[in-house]
């Protein structure tokens, strides 16, 4: 795999050819003068807010960078289309597509200084060298300076999450700037926030604090209320609400703001993962975050804008433990990937043996054509196996809209709510 990212302000022929190409494509949001190595760097910064390992996979669709957090309650993926690169070669002819997993810290160190990327880097070249097992990142800077980073990587299987924005009943879309301004009043240290639709179709963001039984010091509650007119699209019922990790969301938000993109949020019932997406002709970003379940009584109160005392058992759900899979739907998605037998290209996903979990699976027994209920076959108490196997979806299943992103969209069957 070899790809080359050029800074848009490079003088000379390749620079102007790039600009011409951008102009014909009409990339309004990523202007030709946008510094693409810096955009790549910002994406890496965003991903670093989520996980410690970066999965790099060159696909025909483009270069995908993915990560997942340690408790597997958050998944993030950026796909850079081939057009993003001056030169993109997913694989040397005759060779298999290489996939690799590297330490986020190592990759981030190359792109750590965004100022440097914007001002001095003219070209960035990334190549996967199978023989030497090194990911080579070369930054060609001003004044003939060339920085070469040789990062060691591990072979890995593809990290893919199963999610389908189209299956979410609620969605809203707004310029990232609007959402950025909306989260400004919240303290930087706030972990979780609740997003909901209140009376009059106002969108409400409220700080979420776990109730601690014996705490005498109450935390300040901050709430921001936006009108429907701030959103380009708002498709949600009054009373719908989800609670998710604000810190993880900020990762995508800051990227979207810097690239001046619109951000869409697709969500479902509490407990089901929320999907945050940004889209551009040159790149796609998807962040899938777990949401807290049991916010039902909260969403009823949302209409009256009153603070709600959360159900005490929420404690258990909010920070999913590796072995607490029952209510953490996002984790189920991850596990779906994990336990398949490696028959790539197979149309049928094998059934997964179910271990007695706290909550029995809701879907009917392993139908061969359907996505399985994903109870992991791990012993509670052991950390989940880190290795992800590939699920080669190809054209399985059903109603796929326009294939979007690196992972073909699967209609996830309802796992039922606990």
């Amino acid at each position: 795999m070899k790809c080359l990212v050029t800074g848009g302000n490079v003088k000379g022929e390749c620079g102007s050819a790039w600009r011409r190409r951008c102009n014909t494509l009409g990339t309004a949001s990523l202007t030709p003068s946008a510094l693409l190595p810096a955009v790549l760097g910002k994406a890496v910064h965003s991903l670093s807010r989520i996980g410690d390992e970066l999965y790099l996979e060159p696909l025909e669709d483009g270069l995908s960078l993915r990560t997942v957090n340690s408790s597997r309650s958050a998944y993030a993926c950026f796909l850079f289309a081939p057009l993003f690169f001056q030169h993109y070669q997913a694989a040397t002819p005759g060779q298999d597509l290489l996939r690799c997993k590297i330490l986020m810290k190592s990759f981030l160190s190359v792109f750590r200084s965004l100022a440097m990327l914007e001002k001095t880097v003219e070209k960035c070249c990334i190549a996967l060298n199978g023989q030497s097992s090194r990911l080579v990142v070369q930054l060609h800077c001003k004044f003939g300076v060339r920085k070469t980073h040789n990062l060691s990587f591990q072979d890995c299987e593809s990290l893919q999450a199963v999610f389908d924005p189209a299956s979410c009943p609620h969605m809203l879309r707004a310029p990232a700037r609007v959402l950025g301004e909306a989260v400004l009043p919240f303290p930087p240290s706030l972990a979780e926030v609740t997003l909901g639709i209140g009376r009059g179709r106002r969108v409400i963001l409220r700080s979420y604090h776990e109730e601690e039984a014996d705490s005498t010091v109450k935390a300040m509650v901050t709430e921001v209320c936006l009108g429907e007119e701030d959103f380009q699209q708002l498709q949600a019922q009054e009373g719908a609400a989800i609670t998710f990790c604000l810190k993880e969301f900020r990762g995508l938000l800051s990227f979207a703001e810097s690239a001046n993109l619109n951000l869409s949020i697709h969500f479902d019932a509490p407990g089901r993962p929320a999907i945050f997406t940004i889209k551009d002709s040159l790149l796609d970003g998807d962040f899938v975050l777990a949401t807290l379940s049991e916010t039902d009584s909260y969403s009823q109160d949302l209409g009256s804008l009153e603070r709600h005392r959360p159900v005490p058992q929420l404690q258990a759900h909010s920070t999913p433990h590796p072995d607490d899979f029952a209510n953490d739907d996002i984790d189920s998605y991850m596990i779906a990937m994990e336990t398949t037998i490696g028959n790539e290209g197979s149309r049928v996903l094998p059934s997964i043996s179910l271990s007695p979990g706290p909550q029995p699976p809701q879907s009917p027994g392993p139908a061969s054509e359907e996505e399985d209920e994903a109870e992991p076959s791990t012993v509670p108490g052991t950390p989940p196996p880190k290795k992800f196997r590939s699920l080669f979806f190809g054209s399985i299943l059903a109603p796929v809209g326009s294939p979007h992103g690196p992972s073909p969209v699967l209609a996830e069957d309802s796992e039922g709510e606990g």
Partner: protein, 268 residues
């Protein structure tokens, strides 16, 4: 709202938890000299009409038309930070599952849509029987009263001194001289400020008896002085320092419409 936020930022730096006293014409931020504060006390006062276009309050009773609330200063300063570019700001006492001070900010936005940010700051209402501990501190007759030098300069000096010693001597005389002294086994450092000027002293007899060059000194904890100086982001309109020898140092500042008094006791 800029000034109000500046004040709350300052209070937040000076005291983690403080008392807000609301009376018909004034607002006070109070820190009383409890052991927990290390003996430091603070009294900050502002006239409500300089800040609010509408002000309504009802105290405990007609004779005790005041409200005393305890809150975490940082919450207030964070809440007011939101109001930086606001169209409107409202502060109310509410009871949403717990008593709080609700700061409601109508944000300005590009479109005509209204965006509202609300902060519910948890508070504790202080019962009347504790009010007497929260009265304006008596300012004893100082031995020396002197105008302070630029606070930023003082702060950078004290910051460096903090690395050498944990306590320092602040001394001043009626000749406009103020010294900051630290002393350890190995080293002595003194910073001299001259030509500061002295305000006229209240009691004439004291000033006449006193040799103008004679220093009045107080031994204090350096961190307390630093905490006070760190809270001063903007140079005040007026800054005064009163020293009662071996008893305490009293700082009396005026930031436009807000007065702040800060008392640091002498080390025993």
């Amino acid at each position: 709202y800029g000034l109000k936020r500046g004040i709350s930022n300052m209070i937040a730096k000076l005291a983690k938890t403080c008392t807000l006293r609301i009376s018909p014409d004034k607002l006070n931020f109070i820190l009383c000299d409890k052991l927990a504060n290390g003996g430091v006390s603070m009294w900050c006062e502002l006239e409500q009409e300089n800040f609010f276009s509408e002000f309504q309050m009802e105290g405990v009773s007609a004779e005790n038309n005041e409200i005393y609330l305890e809150l975490t200063s940082e919450n207030l300063s964070r809440a007011l930070k939101t109001a930086q570019n606001a169209r409107a700001l409202k502060i109310k006492l509410t009871n949403k599952h717990f008593p709080c001070l609700t700061v409601s900010v109508e944000l300005s936005s590009m479109s005509n849509s209204s965006r509202i940010a609300t902060h519910d700051i948890p508070i504790k209402v202080i019962p009347r029987k504790l009010w007497k501990e929260l009265q304006e501190p008596m300012v004893p007759d100082p031995d020396v009263s002197i105008y302070l030098p630029v606070l930023k300069t003082m702060k950078s000096v004290v910051e460096k001194m903090k690395n050498i010693s944990s306590h320092l001597v602040i001394e001043a005389n009626l000749d406009g001289e103020l010294n900051l002294k630290i002393e350890t086994e190995l080293v002595c450092v003194t910073t001299h400020f001259k030509d500061l000027g002295n305000p006229p002293l209240a009691s004439e007899s004291t000033s006449q008896d006193r040799n103008p060059e004679h220093m009045a000194e107080v031994h204090i904890d350096i961190r307390k002085l630093l905490q006070f100086l760190a809270g001063q982001q903007v140079n005040p309109t007026k800054a005064l320092c009163n020293i009662v020898t071996n008893k305490m140092v009293h700082f009396d500042l005026l930031h436009e419409d807000v007065s702040l008094q800060y008392f640091i006791p002498a080390l025993s």
